[in-house]
Amino acid sequence: MQKAIALHKARLGMVSAQAPLISNLDAWLNVALIRQYHENLPRDRARREVLASLDRFGMGAIADRRISSLEDQERFCIMLLRAAMVKRAVLVIDRPFQIMPDLQDARYVGRSLKWIDDLYEECHIFDYVWMKDHYGALHGEEH
């Protein structure tokens, strides 16, 4: 994984428990931050775009919530969207089951990636070898 991070540093969109959401920002601000900082996107436009992308997950209602009040899956979606906001993003998802410990398999990860597949160029998922069985469903969905 370190290799992938170093290789794609400029376009890296990291989704990891080790890269947590910024706790003093609302959910939408965590996502908007990337384009506001790197592309100087005005606040109102950034908010509209984030709300539109949250609607893809049916999560528009969580936009103004604080990070501490989010469920695991909502937190994962915010992390994923934040990563996808990087220009020509290379998503690196590090042990998704650490972010969503209650998940049975990786189908939710696959579905989430499909909802935003126009927002990133590549996606790499890293996990322990012994977690391989959890990803069977993901292969079935061609991810």
């Binding site: 991070i5 540093k9 400029a10 890296l12 969109g13 990291m14 080790q18 890269a19 947590p20 959401l21 910024i22 706790s23 003093n24 908007a32 931050l33 990337i34 506001q36 900082y37 790197h38 100087n40 996107l41 005005p42 606040r43 950034a46 934040r82 990087v86």
Partner: protein, 261 residues
């Protein structure tokens, strides 16, 4: 003897090195503050929020303290001036004491108590939670995004609140001058204007900006010193706040020396 020197020397060398590091960090931050590239939509938003938290939310407390403390003090000053027969120096005393000395000092104490401790804890929590790591993974410069807005906010807030303190205290001085000296509004205003020196205003503004710079820079530096353990947060806040108060005293003393040279 060697042991005594060693005991005294170690903390001294440590403090000198720490001060040197802080000044080096201050140099880097100053270059960022004046760089246009540091300002984008995200940093501007942080700056506006910080000014709101520091200079606007504090207003009810600040105005109450300014009116109560300022009026009491100005009442005492006026009574002493009357007793000593120094009425002709009223303007100079008010401008020299209230505007250039009292206003920045009271303001910086209130802001340091409220905002410096908050900034120290916030940065320490972000360090412990690995949120600073998140920012660097997304190629976001923490100096631009976190530090520059907080430091600019410190400078702006101390200047604005010091001016507000001066206006409130000089306003209450107007009432006291009427009751104690029977002085009208015109006479009081003229006395103040005649005693206003451009150099006093410049010194006051520079002092406020220096105060604002260091009471935000030092908490940031000490917040960054937190480790990845929760228990390091109170230690970072404690050490940072002690250094903030030392910095306030040093700046105050230096400004007094500069004024009377």
């Amino acid at each position: 003897m060697a042991q005594i020197l060693k005991t005294l020397g170690n903390p001294f060398v440590k403090n000198v090195l720490s001060a040197q590091e802080t000044l080096a960090f201050a140099g880097v931050v100053i270059s960022k503050v004046f760089s246009r590239r540091s300002y984008n939509s995200a940093t501007k938003m942080v700056l506006v929020n910080q000014i709101y938290f520091t200079a606007v939310e504090i207003l009810p407390l600040f105005i109450t303290v300014s009116i109560i403390f300022g009026s009491l003090l100005i009442g005492i000053v006026f009574a002493v001036i009357k007793d000593l027969g120094l009425a002709e120096y009223l303007g100079s005393i008010l401008m020299g004491f209230v505007v250039t000395e009292l206003a920045p000092f009271i303001t910086v104490l209130l802001i340091a108590l409220r905002s410096s401790s908050a900034i120290d804890a916030e940065i320490a929590v972000m360090k412990v939670n690995q949120e600073l790591n998140t920012l660097s993974l997304f190629n976001i410069d923490v100096l631009d995004y976190l530090f520059v807005p907080r430091i600019v906010n410190g400078m702006v807030s101390v200047v604005l609140l010091s001016c507000l303190f001066s206006i409130l205290v000089l306003g209450s001085g107007m009432l006291f001058s009427f009751f104690i000296f029977g002085m009208g509004l015109d006479t009081y205003g003229n006395t103040l204007l005649n005693s206003t020196k451009f150099s006093d205003i410049v010194i006051m503004l520079l002092k406020c900006m220096t105060f604002g710079f260091f009471i935000t820079l030092i908490p940031i530096r000490f917040g960054l010193r937190a480790s990845h353990e929760l228990t390091s947060i109170p230690v970072a806040v404690l050490n940072g706040m002690v250094k903030v108060f030392i910095a306030i005293v040093i700046i105050e003393v230096l400004s007094l020396i500069l004024r009377f040279i």
